[in-house]
Symmetry: C2
Subunit: 364 residues, 2 copies
Amino acid sequence: MNVMKRIAQSALKKTLIVAMATGAMFSTQAFAAEKVYRLKLAETWGANFPIFGDATKNMAKMANEMSNGRLEIRIDSANKHKAPLGVFDMVKSGQYDMGHSGSYYWKGKVPNTLYFTSMPFGMLPAEQYAWFYYGGGMDLMNQVYSPHNLLSFPGGNTEFQMGGWFQKEINSVDDLKGLKMRIPGFAGEIMAELGAKPTNIAPGELYTALERRTIDALEWVGPSLDLRMGFHKIAPYYYTGWHEPGSELQFLVNKQVWEKLPADLQEILRISMKTAAYDMYIQAVHESGKNWASIKTEYPNVKVKDFPPEVMDALRAANDKLLKEHASQDPLAKEIQASQAAYLKEVRAWTDISTKAYLDNEAK
Amino acid sequence: MNVMKRIAQSALKKTLIVAMATGAMFSTQAFAAEKVYRLKLAETWGANFPIFGDATKNMAKMANEMSNGRLEIRIDSANKHKAPLGVFDMVKSGQYDMGHSGSYYWKGKVPNTLYFTSMPFGMLPAEQYAWFYYGGGMDLMNQVYSPHNLLSFPGGNTEFQMGGWFQKEINSVDDLKGLKMRIPGFAGEIMAELGAKPTNIAPGELYTALERRTIDALEWVGPSLDLRMGFHKIAPYYYTGWHEPGSELQFLVNKQVWEKLPADLQEILRISMKTAAYDMYIQAVHESGKNWASIKTEYPNVKVKDFPPEVMDALRAANDKLLKEHASQDPLAKEIQASQAAYLKEVRAWTDISTKAYLDNEAK
């Protein structure tokens, strides 16, 4: 809030108090315009975590400045609340007003949450935003979260994710058998189908787990974040991606908290979250480009590999099989899958004639 | 503004008036928080023009709701102000407070404005947003617009543009000679270099110009908007794109108008413009996918063509030659070109290992 505004607000409050003291007509609603709403947000990430943590700070700053200080959002990182993968529960119960996390982290609790981050062989970031905002995705996400006293909003796209860091080369499906890998979401189920041992581990513990060989491999994000995590120092192979073509984080808001906000602050919060999400996507593109360049120059020993076609075929077959299983068990899962599949088919035909044809031609 | 807020504001005003009447201490600054700012925006597009016109309406609605009615933006379309390509001058002079148009429309007036829409063989939408917001693009745009009493902001991406509608097939560079084509920006200069006769025509007159053969060809946007313009009824060939891989529209704001806004309304306006721009990009992706599908089913007679390699090579050679000429005449042009070229090189290496590799693999 700038200084002039503080003075103006202070003067306004004094005036109202004097007005009351002098017996002037007064409505308590007049104070509503001045009331400061203080919300607490729990994020899955550690303090000053880059990009993901920038999204929450960016959101809180926009909300504060646009509301002229009437909306104050305090961000508690994982080192504060100690429950990085407890964000869903803490916002549901009202212990926190808001959260910032990843929808697919909750699939053990609410299976249909897995569809709102990124799906293997699924949509790219812009395609998925189009599905969320113009293709029915927001409605479907709301159907999944509403019974849990939660509103969920897109929370920032990580941009296309790499396939992960591996201690040993993957030359066949056999090489996946028994492989202990940190890989969350539906991709983890696919890996399990092929004999791997998937697990999810909080971000702050990933480096140690890979270094001490608690796990043999991990996927985290891509060059935008992986280099800062230091994985290139402890694993030689970096595989290209298939499983998270455009992972969208999420903002969670407790329903009662949302409903108590005045209409203008609801809109300020909604737009601050939406813009912070878009901004994070663009920041991730930027950081990816920059860090990809530095891999090439500063870390020439990193071995960038594609999974062999045999492995890709097996991953895709397992993906299709597991999707069918989920759909057969739950009508809403079936509906979400059908919506995503139809949308992907339509939008990808356009992406192929435009972006893909252009990139192919430019690379010649 | 919702009803409760109106009541609250009304009560607040009454209270302050009573406070004044009773001789209570009063600061005029208290009223500043309540003052309604009314801005007029001129857009290049006609009334209810889809997508582009949705961006201005979306922006004005967000600004109004987030400010609780303190920021009212009236939108005048081209049929009202009658000067679709006069938006730059009208906002510069203060006749309008804001504008919505395309930066490259002003290249005849201020040559360096051409770099802030889309460049032939240039960046894709997300790459270009990354350049604007994280790669120095906003600073460079500001250097170009500031001497003209204007602030310029990204105003919505059209998504990848098609190469245009042609009355006759283009089989060689010779087929471009003498071709009268509506094609603005730098691409128009390239076409002229190869012997074509480029022109810019206001959107509302395009259909008639192509129908009456005032022009032989035109590019407008892509499937998102072209189908509604009806060009497929009057030109048989639809060429794939090369010249506008991610055209960004622009919001213009008169500098004095901006400076008079309180800090919170500046932030509300800035975020409303930014979000409306991102939203338009995603809406354009959605509409492109939908309309591309309908071309395939409803208009099977449209002949979708690629320019032959000979023509593409000539276009690229002309592009490189003309860029060098512009750079040699103006140090700022040289600086902008260098910034864009360096950014494109870095970010495209990442796009190729991520998006392109993924799309290539998925298309197999």
